[in-house]
Amino acid sequence: SQQGEEDPQALSIQEGENATMNCSYKTSINNLQWYRQNSGRGLVHLILIRSNEREKHSGRLRVTLDTSKKSSSLLITASRAADTASYFCATASGYSSASKIIFGSGTRLSIRP
């Protein structure tokens, strides 16, 4: 079952614009992670935000987390053609038991030149 659900499912923007993707989840979490996937290949870890953090930055990426609303957002500023990919949020919970991350269904981002 999917824990996180990304919104929108697909996003097409002009190069140079900012892209915002949202993720909602259902249960309490220890951390939330964002991944990028190019052309159905391996997932690239972008950023991890812990449940006690509200905002995190990494280069052109900005992630926010609102645990009261069980939601997160990923902002990519000054988008480039190379940012074209699918983006997934994944939630981690239950450190005492089996560790797994549960992925959402992803947002397909297309950057138009």
Partner: protein, 114 residues
């Protein structure tokens, strides 16, 4: 330092056959997890192994099995293949069992069942 390596990269099998997929984690990582990703969907958790023991299992039939070796590499085995097993199989390694520092994924094995 090499990342997570998976082999083979592509595989075509016939229904009813079995398949073995292999994964080598990042050096120093003791946890290996397996995920199945069907086209157009997010990855689904199959197994986690840590210190050579199964620590978690997703909602997959008993046809799916795995193991982890003393060098922390891992194999995923699928018996009696079905058409629906066609997917990208991803291996992820993490430093510890909790995954608190994130996961590093391999490039995956694309399995096609015909």
């Amino acid at each position: 330092d090499a990342g997570v390596t998976q082999s083979p990269t592509h595989l075509i099998k016939t229904r009813g056959q079995h398949v073995t997929l292999r994964c080598s984690p990042i050096s120093g990582h003791k946890s290996v997890s397996w995920y199945q990703q069907v086209l157009g969907q997010g990855p689904q958790f199959i197994f986690q192994y840590y210190e050579k023991e199964e620590r978690g299992r997703g909602n997959f039939p008993d046809r799916f099995s795995a193991r982890q070796f003393p060098n922390y590499s891992s194999e995923l085995n699928v018996n009696a293949l079905l058409l629906g097993d066609s997917a990208l199989y991803l291996c992820a390694s993490s430093l510890d069992r909790t995954g608190a520092y994130g996961y590093t994924f391999g490039s995956g094995t694309r399995l096609t069942v015909v």
